[in-house]
Symmetry: C2
């Protein structure tokens, strides 16, 4: 390893959202100097990282200038074009994850092809280029059919649940491009597995969690997934570690799954720290943000051991009130152990602006505490 | 409370050392914007806090410009003159701790007078203006006598253990001013109690810890203090909370104590996050840095509950090698649960440049892990 005297290595993060922001605490501890490529200087991470460069992640020139002097480069989001990543690697930069891995988080059709090829469990799926093909898919698998934008969707956007060819036609009109069709899975609940993999190939899996969604947005994460059969949990971890390995992921990989009566099915992949892992900041001895930094620098990975038997994370979604800080007083007085995270973002209705985490021994009690804090911070009302 | 939309309050920290640096992670979580007054832009905290102002903490003009727009002002060190603090408060600023409290951490003679007045247990002490008075003190309490600089000493500097009037004369020659004489206490070990107090008067005490010193520098902190009688622990916490209350401390107060056969004696006070509390970052549900921010903003205080039965912190002191990062690989591979903290400071022999923390169930095992990591990081050698 190179000498970094008098400071540690520089890790460049493309994008300056809350994931880059939450990477700064472990970077501060480890003496890693973060640099972010931000769209503007008031973005979430730009407020807390000194070495903020303003630029466009779609511009190879901007990326090249940004990468100069970084010991490793990684991402706050998955929107950097693969050809730019390849160009940076050709320039001699260490970029994690690389383009050949990241494409599976950028292109849902490529992801489905690859997962099917390696035998990872998926819902029935097909590429469809118009409503007629969607109807043909439905003829085999039944309506409703889930149509998804192949690229660019997130938090429920770019997803249409269609119960007829007419509905599919509307989805295609809205999407303006080819879509992925998937059978609507009658799942019992949604799970997520976070794993880390280093360039050396070391892999670590966090406990399987349950993610509770509302309107396509994650509102709550329960760690570990309550009542999950240990065999099924181990199977979920094996699937996630295998995907990380087969796809050559470096850094964090989040594998979102459906738990069904017929077993587990992979829903989505994300190759970066993920909302389903925010609980690890207080709930694990190594947070996903520290783990990601360790992985992209090819350092040995940290233990994913939990700090308490039960951890619940609840997202804070923006409402009408732009000032949530005034509600800290009640929340902190009510529960001196709840942990509040704000992302320094402008409050907009429905936007993820922070989260709260509670830890303890009893799921019902811990969940009630997290909910009380989240609801009060968002609305000023008691639950 | 004022509205801070779209962001949280601004807390100004005078000084940009590692204490300000370690305040940034909880500030990031809580959406509190930190500002630091640094002597230069490459100081420890200046590397990780965007709003760094370069200036002189001894200049009232610099302090006034710095304070403008801060919702609360606090300190990384105790060197800001009391009259400047009073001027800032007269300007309408919220400064925590205030001058009347902070003087007890700035002036050891004032501290001894006040502690004696409120009945807090102290070693025998006297103000002495020359070696003759030191000898007179020794006539009553015996040699050796501990002479201390009334102001400005730290980490063993400004302390002389004298066994004769000649040695005392040398101390006075070195000090160049009046000194405080204290009886050398035959203590069994050193303890520290960290408490927080908010302007509202809410108080919280962390568990009593044992601090292990070498050459006047803290090298290791064991939390909780092993084998301490619960009654004596409760007494130590009562003494510390009472001192915080009587002195009107706002923010963190560290009370360093001697444990002797005759009971506890107060050794030193510090009014800020303190080396004896670095273990709280991973070892408590509320770190001392988060607690200090909550206190100076007059928010309800967080729980001091521990995250594990045993926590050991070991300081990293600089050696000959300026690049410690290359040793991360071994330390992290050897122990995936140890936590490393680097302060981003130039390595100089004997300088505190970081610390490591280990948590677990068994003191011997946890202590061995912390030591192994610290010794390896400092020297590249196994223990």
């Amino acid at each position: 390893m190179n000498a970094y005297s008098p400071i540690g290595p520089v890790v460049g993060i493309v994008g300056a959202g809350q994931l880059a922001r939450m990477s700064q605490p472990p970077a501060i501890a480890l003496g890693i100097e973060l640099r972010v490529l931000a769209g503007s200087s008031d973005e979430s991470a730009a407020r807390v990282i000194v070495d903020t460069r303003v630029g466009d992640y779609r511009s190879l020139d901007d990326l090249r200038a940004f990468a100069e002097g970084c010991h490793a480069i990684t991402f706050d989001h998955e929107h950097v074009p693969g050809e730019h990543i390849r160009a940076l690697i050709d320039d001699g930069h260490a970029v994690h994850p690389g383009a050949d891995a990241l494409v599976h988080a950028q292109d849902k059709a490529v992801m489905r092809e690859r997962l099917t090829a390696i035998g990872a469990p998926c819902p029935a799926w097909a590429r469809v280029s118009g409503p007629g093909e969607a109807a043909a898919f439905a003829a085999g698998h039944g309506w409703p059919v889930v149509l998804k934008a192949v690229t660019g969707g997130y938090d429920g956007r770019g997803v249409w649940v269609c119960d007829s060819e007419e509905a599919a036609a509307e989805a295609f009109a809205g999407a303006g491009g080819p879509l992925l069709a998937e059978a609507l899975v009658p799942f019992e609940r949604e799970l997520a597995v976070l794993v880390a993999r280093s360039p050396h190939g070391q892999g670590v899996s966090y406990p399987v969690v349950e993610t509770v969604q509302r309107d396509g947005i994650c509102v709550e994460v329960l760690a570990p997934a309550p009542g999950l059969d240990p065999e099924e949990a181990a199977e979920a971890q094996r699937v996630a570690l295998r995907i990380a390995d087969e796809l050559g992921v470096t850094g964090m990989l989040a594998v979102e799954m459906f738990q069904t009566r017929q077993g587990l099915l992979v829903n989505e992949l994300a190759m970066r720290p993920h909302n389903s892992g925010h609980w690890t900041i207080e709930g694990s001895r190594t947070s996903q943000f520290e783990q990601h930094l360790r992985a992209v620098l090819d350092l040995p990975l940290g233990t994913p051991a939990m700090t308490a038997p039960v951890v619940v994370m609840a997202n804070l979604l923006g409402g009408d009130d732009p000032d949530l800080f005034k509600r800290y007083e009640h929340v902190m007085a009510h529960d001196p152990a709840v942990k509040v995270h704000f992302y320094g973002k402008q409050v907009r209705p429905g936007r993820k602006i922070g989260h709260v985490t509670a830890v303890g021994d009893d799921l019902d009690e811990v969940r009630a505490r997290a909910r009380h804090a989240a609801v009060y911070l968002m609305t000023g009302e008691y639950t």
